[in-house]
Amino acid sequence: MSQYKIIFTGPVGAGKTTAIKSISDKDVVGTDVAASDMTKQRKASTTVAMDYGVMNLAGGEKIHLYGTPGQERFDFMWDILTTGGIGLILLLDNTRADPFQDLKFFLAAFDGFIQSTAVAIGITQTDISATPTLADYHQQLQALGIKPPVFAIDAREYNDVSLLVQALLYSLDPGLASDNP
């Protein structure tokens, strides 16, 4: 049986682990360790390999949820992770020094994957830092020639993460119709 995945990516502390926990049917297998470098400035522990969660689907199928490591030094894993991926969730932390740089970095890093699938972007920590605004992100994206969904989210909230993933699915196919209206 094919292994289908949704990939969660973004910089350190953007909420990837939390977002996967929010929608996973089983406890997230994390590989967080105490941060010992620049990462320490933002969070006490960080994901050095990947996070893994799963959603059980009707008929016994599963969709695997993978979180990429936030640190750029592990980027060799990203190609491996995206194989079989159906789409990308990019989470960005609005309190970071330059969220637009993060935006461009991750879109470029996953460019090939996004071209063949779709991306939906969740902006976290907007309650702490109101700027840049979502309109600012859209302006950046317009310059890049793409029009993905961009939502402010709280990664702890099931509904926020669920809506973001639903927007990803509809970006792949607006004709999708749920049995549950």
């Binding site: 009707a58 969709i63 317009q142 939502f151 639903q166 927007a167 607006p174 004709g175």
Partner: protein, 402 residues
């Protein structure tokens, strides 16, 4: 609170959220001295429906179908004259309510099923009602007529875009199944509070000045710095006002005055502040009621600048699908409805809401009319994607609401 009346009138409540329903139960037991009691719909003698509830029209239809002949009382802020119903003005007082209920109570029958039935269940959150929520259908506005028990998370019907608790409202004069009427289903924004709020937000933002919008209704305070508004009204009240045409005499009462943001803010209840875009979005939905503004033509392409921030806005049915399709390229509102095979009023309402926030406009280039948009291409993994969608919406997954 125990009912004190030996033979209380059995009423079923519709169009009320959990809090309203509980309040009404206590009201019947207290000020009405237990002369009426809330029961499940099968055991009721009289149906009592909040006509200001957004899907009240469909609820009323469903009640006529489910219990033909049963008296129906409509509670509303606005006078209503609908055949086979009895209107009762809000705010309800005990005397008027009991007079109405007593007047409508069917004559007692000997050995009727109701008489021999077990004692009425005095809770409206029965298993049957809860089940209605889970069994909602595309026309399932009945799903919102009774409260569901507390859940660890919001029910997906309420929280996701497919939820029909999205408060569209109804326009009784338009048949959205008639193609001719669909094309004509438009409204003049200048006749509604929406346009005044829109203009006030624009001016306050341009001047960077907190302002107060006065109208025949409650004042709206606008804080452009934080992009917030303050209004001492709940959604139900706002929806009613949004749907009212501002006649000339009301429009004359509308004005905009600058205020001292810091001083005013300090005196206002914190829980009454709302995001400006979210407020305008709601107003647009409740003004539209499934119609397009006059400036948009249902047969000409519209384009969307970018996605709305759906996690912080009121969802309407199929809103994500409509926006996802428009994000792929311009289409006319009618083409969107046809491509997605959804009701035109669901398309029109989300297009109107996007338009109200400046996210959407009509194409004016002639070239756009020459190119017929391609129908959306089904994804190769459509079955899988549908399963994921179903899982996220809660019918195959976690949280106990499968």
């Amino acid at each position: 609170m125990k009912a004190t009346h030996p033979d209380p009138i059995r009423v079923a409540l519709f169009g009320m959220d959990a809090r309203s329903l509980k309040t009404f139960e206590l009201y019947l037991a207290g000020p009405c001295h237990g002369a009426a009691v809330v029961v499940v719909e099968d055991e009721a003698e009289i149906d009592l429906l909040d006509a200001d509830f957004p899907t009240a029209g469909e609820l009323l239809q469903s009640r006529w179908t489910a219990a033909p002949g049963r008296p129906i009382v409509l509670l509303s802020l606005q006078p209503l004259a609908i055949a086979n119903t009895t209107y009762l003005a809000k705010p309800v007082n005990a005397e008027a309510l009991m007079n109405t209920l007593n007047g409508l109570r069917p004559a007692p029958q000997t050995a009727s099923p109701a008489d021999t039935a077990p004692a009425p269940k005095t809770t409206a959150t029965s298993e049957k009602h809860s089940g209605l929520v889970d069994e909602a259908t595309p026309q399932g506005d009945a799903a919102v007529q009774t409260p569901s028990p507390p859940r660890p998370r919001r029910h997906p019907i309420e929280s996701n875009e497919g939820g029909f608790t999205a408060l569209l409202g109804v326009t009784g004069d338009i048949d959205f199944d008639d193609p001719k009427q669909i094309i004509a289903a438009r409204f003049d924004p200048n006749l509604y509070f929406l346009s005044y709020a829109h203009e006030a937000f624009k001016r306050a933002s341009e001047y960077g000045q907190a302002m107060q919008l006065h109208s025949a209704w409650k004042p709206v305070l606008i804080f452009p710095g934080s992009r917030q508004v303050w209004l001492d009204a709940d959604d139900k009240q706002t929806r009613v006002f949004a749907g009212m045409e501002q006649k000339k005499n009301l429009a004359g009462a509308i004005s905009l005055t600058p205020v001292d943001a810091a001083a005013v803010r300090a005196t206002k209840a914190p829980d009454k502040f709302q995001d400006m875009d979210a407020f305008l979005w709601k107003l647009a939905i409740w003004t539209s009621k499934g119609r397009l503004p006059m400036t948009l033509n249902a047969q000409q392409p519209v384009y969307i600048r970018h996605w709305p921030n759906f996690t912080r806005l009121m969802m309407t049915p199929d809103a994500l699908r409509v926006v996802a399709l428009l994000a792929q390229g311009p289409r006319s509102p009618l083409e969107v409805a046809q491509s997605l095979n959804i009701r035109a009023n669901y398309v029109f309402v989300v297009i109107t809401a996007c338009w109200s926030l400046g996210l959407l406009d009509q194409r004016t280039r002639s070239a756009d009319y020459l190119v017929t948009p391609e129908p959306p291409k089904p994804d190769k993994k459509q079955d899988l994607l549908t399963k994921i969608l179903n899982r996220l919406r809660g019918d195959a997954g976690k949280g106990g609401y499968a």
